[in-house]
């Protein structure tokens, strides 16, 4: 079987690219880290890849606002290539900074056109790294199937508070079941800090496009692909449920979809 070719895009300040490549490789993909300049200069082409992952980090230092400058570069410098990727229904995954980029470039939710939401400063006004509980909505996005109802992943960001433009946008996301991940308490309830680490509206931690093929999420699946990534792995026997890690499952779903 030919391994699906996945692009892990990097720019100045990307910093989760290597581990994202490892996670994709573990899941059976052929993953490549490529600098954005290679595409802008035309030395490489987006259409040679079957999927695009925009990994976490601080693209351009998150100067001005997180993900903003890269979002503009995608819009103004790679518009046609990107549109073609979406048009040809190639999966796109944005993690953390990548999610911020997709939202600010208007690719998520993608309908209606233009930026419909944002990721703004955490209510605490500072960067925070912690593991969270997430309730998973599996109906629309193919990359989250076979996940338990509640999973755990780490978040590590300063600007992760999901804010829709208005009630209409929120209503659209809810109605179409595009809210893929929601911050919840261990028992699955919507609640406040620290379970909702940043004050996101409706606990929204990740959303997808109406066709489910563009997924953006603040939590880091690539940091939860082996059992020992979990912060309390020594508290649970080896045979327990964390054996199949949530992060690995998400990448595997993506690879399976491409195969």
């Amino acid at each position: 079987m030919v391994k699906p070719r996945v692009l892990v895009l990097r720019v100045a300040g990307t910093n989760c690219d290597q581990e994202t490549v490892w996670a994709l490789q573990m899941a059976g993909a052929s993953a490549e880290r490529v600098h954005l300049n290679e595409f802008i200069s035309g030395r490489k082409r987006l259409k040679d890849y079957q999927a695009l992952v925009i990994p976490g980090g601080f693209s351009y230092g998150d100067d001005i606002a997180a993900g903003k400058v890269l979002a503009n570069q995608l819009l103004y410098r790679l518009e046609n290539d990107l549109r073609e990727l979406v048009h040809r229904r190639k999966p796109i995954l944005g993690i953390c900074n990548g999610f911020q980029v997709l939202v600010k470039a208007g690719l998520l939710p993608g309908q209606p056109p233009g930026q419909q939401a944002t990721l703004t400063w955490n209510d605490s006004a500072r960067f925070e790294d912690r593991w969270v509980y997430l309730k998973v909505e599996t109906e629309v996005c193919p990359f989250v199937k076979n996940l338990p109802e509640i999973i755990r992943l780490p978040v590590a960001h300063a600007e992760g508070k999901f804010l829709p433009a208005n009630k209409k946008v929120l209503g659209f996301l809810e109605r179409k079941k595009l809210v893929v991940f929601r911050y919840v308490s261990p028992s699955g309830e919507l609640t406040g800090y620290p379970y909702n680490p940043n004050g996101s509206v409706a606990g929204i931690a990740g959303i997808c496009s109406p066709d489910g093929l563009i997924l953006g999420m603040m939590p880091h699946p690539e940091r939860a692909v082996i059992r020992q990534h979990y912060p309390d792995w020594l508290r649970h026997p080896e045979s327990s449920a964390t054996a199949a890690t949530a992060g690995f499952q998400i990448f595997k779903n993506m690879v399976d979809y491409l195969a």
């Binding site: 990097r10 100045a12 300040g13 990307t14 910093n15 989760c16 290597q18 581990e19 490892w22 996670a23 490789q25 600098h35 300049n37 290679e38 200069s41 976490g56 980090g57 601080f58 351009y60 230092g61 998150d62 100067d63 500072r126 960067f127 925070e128 790294d129 912690r130 593991w131 780490p154 590590a156 880091h220 690539e222 940091r223 692909v225 020992q228 990534h229 912060p231 309390d232 020594l234 508290r235």
Partner: protein, 790 residues
């Protein structure tokens, strides 16, 4: 010599002694008379005056920061304990340990930007810890950030470059509630320094994509005027990339950020005392993304073998970097080619600037084009600014003018060795002891002591999981609110082998007994490694001394005493030093002329390995019914303890490590953890046994019951059992099914079965059958977690 209008000749040849001293002061050279006279003699032989470029280059190269004059000085040391005087060279004492231990896994020590040890399967790890104290006191955010940036560049510039995988951070601040009225003008409040420093480390480290996952924070009034900021970086590299060698004819390439007027005189400034008249140019703001781009492209260039040597631009800027690289060859530098931030820099400023985020490479001419275009493709500037020659001279050109020509032999070997005086007198033991102690209230107050209290509000601001390699994270337990003793990383996708990093610091001991402090810091760093399952017989150490006014013989005597402690205990634990750094003259001269010095401070960082990270261990209590053992011997050792601090009792017996007792215990523990018989392990440090146990309870959210009569030691008073800070002690949780095996392994060791993990939500402390006090887990957690706000 032709001199351009921008180059000044310094009139040195005919200067009198007092004029030499004045020259050193005027140009902020931080050179003493003897050194100035050596320079004068050198130029008298040449029959000409030096240029500003030359004099500044010598001053930078000879600065305390760059050559460690005090550590290399011959010290006439009078030891008040032995009642005799002998000659000591501090650096030799430290280096002797490594030489004598002859560990074959030490691959590169004390010669490069960082120490390097063998890791696994052809990989090596490098570790360096630096301080950035003065800049952080003045501009906490920028100072701490550039401190992080600087030590990362050390790792990028070790051998042919290592990939950073971990940052460590250790800070010493004044008390956060220090009265603002008592602060003199120009001194920032400890709270502002605390927030600024943490934010600076956070923003630089997080943007670089390096997990910051090990550290410590100390609070003491002694750090109000001079905070301490230690930044460390660990890197990983293939073993065949650990050495570099410049070839004659190689091009000198500067890569990364542009050069401005930033940080001029940083190296000489860092060796001077602080006062309120500080030039703006010494403080800087870093740009982590420039450094991140540099890191990304350097790793590619390294693996393509495009350069033969590399080093970072740190203190002294290009002058230090190129001066060091050209040590055995020679070099010509065309200063006008250095890319500038703005146009009006004088040649000496270009040469001395400490602008951040720059590296210098030695590139074979045939690789120039490939290297420059590779860098260009990633938006990193790389510019040829000179060439290595075989002249033994450092030739500085500026638009065809020669602005300096220095003999490299003189530059690196012409510095006269300092001769210093030092004496040490032990402090007489104090007689005051705490009275009418209420146990429960004392424990509560110790848990809220900022030195002991949870640092969660700081730790969570660091991305401690980026790179997805952090297997034992800095916070552990059910809700990740318990403390971890050390960090464990799994840096290779294809291997389960791990890197373990811990640290030890306790200036409170050093105030009374710097020798014991050295032993305690060193042992604590190793204990931390042992607690998480690291190999105690493969520990490499880094020393970072931060001292007050070392021109005072008494202060210098304490330093010598501390160095001898490092030597003796490192030998006893079989742990070689692989890198070290000292920051001296951390004192503040007040308006009235009085001097405030920091407490004698030693940070020991430990780097070890674990063959399989799946056999690591954490400190949180795991399961009700499990046994709780206290391993090691408890003694009445309260000197410098947080317990004595709480009751304002100065002096006392500082804990003394006993390697002969502790080493065999560590060996057995390492084995027990590897066998998976140990459910949790935590060492006793500040606050003693009961504080350590409380932390395990908080992490695990299980209760515990302990009986103090089971504590190992001479007939002990209750306060010694609870709060003594005796070294060599570990609290170990063992499942009942492993009890027999564990106890038989531990036969002959000082191990006491002191209690059990309980399903109830209480910590119960008993003396035999009598309950001394009880604490709910919530009470413990609230006290410990609520003490340090943001």
């Amino acid at each position: 010599m032709v001199t351009s209008s921008q180059v000044k000749e310094i009139n040195l040849l005919k200067a009198s002694e007092s004029e030499l001293v004045a020259l050193s002061q005027k140009h902020l050279l931080s050179l003493d008379l003897k050194e100035m006279k050596a320079i004068q003699r050198h130029f008298q032989r040449l029959g000409r005056n030096p240029t500003d470029c030359e004099l500044e280059t010598i001053a930078q190269t000879w600065s305390e920061h760059c050559v460690h004059k005090t550590f290399k000085a011959v010290i006439n040391y009078h030891d008040g304990l032995e009642k005799r005087t002998r000659k000591v060279v501090c650096l030799n004492e430290i280096a002797r340990v490594t030489r004598r231990l002859r560990k074959r896994w030490c691959l590169s020590v004390f010669q490069d930007n960082a120490g390097i040890i063998e890791f696994t399967d052809g990989w090596a790890v490098a570790f360096k810890v630096e301080t950035h104290n003065h800049p952080s006191a003045l501009e906490p955010y920028g100072g701490a950030g550039t401190g992080v940036g600087g030590v990362i560049r050390d790792i990028l510039g070790v051998g042919l470059g290592a990939k950073p995988i971990l940052n460590t951070d250790v800070f010493c601040f004044g008390p956060l509630d220090f009265s603002a009225e008592e602060l003199p003008e120009g001194v920032l409040h400890p709270r502002r320094i605390f927030k600024g420093v943490v934010s600076g480390v956070r923003d630089y480290g997080n943007r670089m994509g390096i997990p910051t996952a090990n550290g410590a924070i100390i609070f003491d009034p002694g750090y109000v005027y001079n905070c301490l900021v230690f930044c460390g970086t660990v890197g990983i590299m293939p073993e065949n990339k650990i050495f570099k060698k410049v070839s004659v004819g190689d091009l000198i390439v500067v890569a990364g950020g542009r050069t401005g007027r930033d940080g001029i005189h940083g190296a000489t400034f860092s060796s001077a005392s602080l006062n309120k008249n500080i030039p703006t140019s010494v403080v800087q703001i870093g740009n982590p993304i420039v450094e991140k781009k540099l890191l990304d492209v350097l790793m590619v260039a390294r693996d393509l073998n495009l350069y033969r040597a590399i080093t970072d631009c740190g203190a002294g800027g290009l002058s230090s970097a190129i001066g060091e690289m050209a040590r055995d060859t020679g070099a010509v530098v065309w200063l006008e080619r250095v890319p500038l931030k703005y146009a009006d820099l004088a040649p000496w400023e270009i040469w001395l600037s400490e602008s951040q985020e720059r590296m210098v490479l030695a590139v074979p001419p045939e690789n120039e084009e490939r290297l420059v275009s590779l860098f260009q493709n990633e938006d990193v500037e790389a510019t040829v600014i000179g060439q290595f020659t075989d002249s033994g001279q450092l030739l500085l050109k500026y638009h065809d003018h020669t602005v300096g020509e220095l003999n490299l032999n003189f530059l690196h070997h012409g510095l006269p060795r300092r001769k210093l005086q030092a004496y040490f007198h032990p402090r007489p033991p104090a007689r005051i002891t705490p009275e009418n102690v209420e146990w429960k209230e004392t424990l509560r107050q110790l848990l809220t002591d900022p030195v002991i209290a949870s640092k969660e509000v700081v730790i969570r601001q660091y991305d401690h999981e980026v790179q997805a390699q952090t297997i034992i994270k800095p916070l552990t337990g059910v809700e990740q609110s318990g403390p971890s003793d050390a960090v464990v990383l799994k840096p290779l996708a294809e291997s389960w082998a791990g890197v373990v990093v811990g640290c030890g610091i306790n200036p409170f001991y050093g105030e009374i007994d710097p020798y014991a402090m050295a032993g305690c810091s060193l042992e604590e760093a190793i204990r931390n490694v042992v607690c998480v399952g690291g190999d105690p017989f493969r520990v490499a150490l880094l020393d970072n001394f931060c001292w007050g006014e070392t021109s005072q013989p008494e202060s210098l005597g304490r330093l010598v005493r501390c160095v001898e402690g490092c030597r003796d205990f490192a030998l006893a634990y079989g742990a070689p030093f692989i890198s070290g750094k000292d920051s001296l003259n951390n004192y503040f001269r007040k308006e009235d002329g009085s001097v405030s010095s920091i407490p004698p401070t030693l940070l020991i960082s430990a780097l070890s390995t674990i063959p399989d990270v799946r056999k690591a261990c954490t400190s949180d209590l795991k399961k009700p019914g499990n046994n709780i053992y206290l391993c090691g011997v408890t003694r009445e050792e309260f000197g410098g303890s947080r317990y004595y601090h709480l009751f304002h009792c100065p002096g006392g017996q500082v804990p003394l490590p006993r390697p002969a007792e502790t080493r065999p215990l560590m060996k057995k523990l390492y084995q027990a953890i590897r066998n998976r018989w140990v459910a949790a392990c935590h060492d006793c440090s500040e606050g003693g046994f009961i504080v350590a146990l409380s932390e395990m309870v908080i992490g695990g959210t299980w209760g515990a019951e302990v009986d103090l009569t089971k504590v190992n030691g001479q007939p002990l008073k209750i306060d010694a059992c609870l709060f003594s800070e005796s070294q060599g002690r570990f609290i170990v949780e063992v499942e009942q099914e492993h009890q027999e095996k564990f106890e038989s392994l531990m036969e002959g060791q000082p191990v006491g079965l002191v209690g059990r993990v309980l399903p109830e939500s209480f910590l119960t402390v008993k003396l035999g059958q009598e309950i001394l006090f009880q604490f709910t887990i919530q009470e413990l957690a609230r006290s410990w977690k609520g003490a340090i706000g943001w």
